[in-house]
Symmetry: C2
């Protein structure tokens, strides 16, 4: 398999203060990524799923932007409080979190649940 079963990219681009497009960094993307890393580590998923920093994902107005591959699902307006739901429902359970989807954007592949971890049995979804 590839290095990760799922790979999350969280935009950490920072623009000068007052820029008309805004930026994900000023909306708290570093804290969002830290929350993803913590949630994945707590579930023993750090080696299977990576929460990566990304440069500008070009949806600044919709930030904090998070894109999840291989399915190509784009989330917008993601806050620290949303991280548990994305990890539990999408990353583990293979179901998209509809309320956070960027409007009008489809996906490339249907998400599937993660396979059970050795010795841990089924993930609770």
């Amino acid at each position: 398999m590839s290095r990760y079963q799922r790979h999350l990219f969280i935009c950490e681009n920072r623009r000068p203060s007052g820029h008309p497009r805004g930026c994900c960094a000023e909306r708290g993307s570093e804290e969002v990524r830290s929350a993803f890393k913590k949630a994945l580590k707590e579930r023993g998923l750090a080696g299977l799923v990576r929460a990566n920093a990304a440069g500008c994902l070009d949806t600044c107005e919709l930030g904090v932007t998070v894109v999840v591959y291989p399915e190509g699902v784009w989330y917008g307006g993601v806050r620290v409080e949303d991280v548990e739901e994305i990890v539990q429902r999408h990353v583990v359970g293979g179901k998209v979190v509809e309320r956070l989807l960027q409007p009008g954007v489809g996906q490339l592949n249907e998400p599937v649940p993660l396979p059970p971890l050795p010795g841990r049995g089924d993930h609770k979804t």
Copy 2:
């Protein structure tokens, strides 16, 4: 569909000079990403395929690291001189560039050729 048919992430992480793992930035990742952007733009693919900066992809010793989604193909040791081949053969043609694959890493999905661009007919692969 998702925002992009293919999404390339080029590690631009920079470590302090002399760090034992090295880093992609000191191996020229910014120039590699610029070359990808130029090659995509020249083919009219800038809206379909994005060459994105990424934070550390954790394969520092194998850099410059480039991962291509949705297929989850990991390339290593990528130089500016390799960019045309990756764009033409993989991004457009849907065929992996075997000689640049990171050793021992599989993929998540089989790459497929890009659909023809409106008004441009088939891509030459």
